[in-house]
Symmetry: C2
Subunit: 122 residues, 2 copies
Amino acid sequence: MHISDLAAEAGVTVKAVRYYESQGLLKPGREPNGYRTYRAEDVAVVREVKALLSLGLTAEQTYPFIECLRAGNDRADVCPASLTAYRTRIAEVDRRIAELTELRARLTDLLADAESWRTRAP
Amino acid sequence: MHISDLAAEAGVTVKAVRYYESQGLLKPGREPNGYRTYRAEDVAVVREVKALLSLGLTAEQTYPFIECLRAGNDRADVCPASLTAYRTRIAEVDRRIAELTELRARLTDLLADAESWRTRAP
DNA sequence: CTTGACCTTGACCCCAAGGGCAGGGTTTAG
DNA sequence: CTAAACCCTGCCCTTGGGGTCAAGGTCAAG
């Protein structure tokens, strides 16, 4: 299959597929005319990458999942490295939520302070 | 004062000062040799921009605060537009926290599912 | 045979907030 | 006079692609 077939089947753009390849996640063959050719398994790979990116993983962090798929597993997340990647990401999200929560507190403090200045000092 | 004096006094890098200028937040004079010259008020501007960026505002969103300072106020956040900018940012943070919370739930679900597959299907 | 439609390729610029480096001019101290 | 310490502009880099481009391939209908 050609690149647009893969993109359509996986629900991403052609551009995204080429980007994944540039990140080393896909290694398509080439036809004599230079066109990239993909195998059926690549659809699952692209779907997986798309799903993981939407979970906030970086392209690099999707590596273990793709390897897991290529190793013949039906699911990309049954390998130990994938579980570790999930846990790492959860920890990142927790850290980010904590940061944002603290940020929100600082913002509301600043807002309250500024509001009180407005009413107090005309 | 020259750019490195301003940067040192405000606690940012020279590069950052030039970036703020490129975003229209500073308009330094120029000496005959081309060097930028800053006035004392610019220190407060740069400090304010730095503080606001650390709160996650974009350079563009700091505009109302800088205008408020330039209008002669001691504080950049006593103007109505600044209060609005604070509230907008708080809403953004709230939205982001909600997204991340939902994301975290999805991740823990996926992790639990993957773990159960590992123990269930050898 | 040619036209048109559709496909592919690589290459370039863009985003936010700068970091890093190159190459060159200037100023100040010793 | 020279070296250190400044200053300037300009380019490439970061994420995950989006947008757009010219150039060339492929297939059908006319």
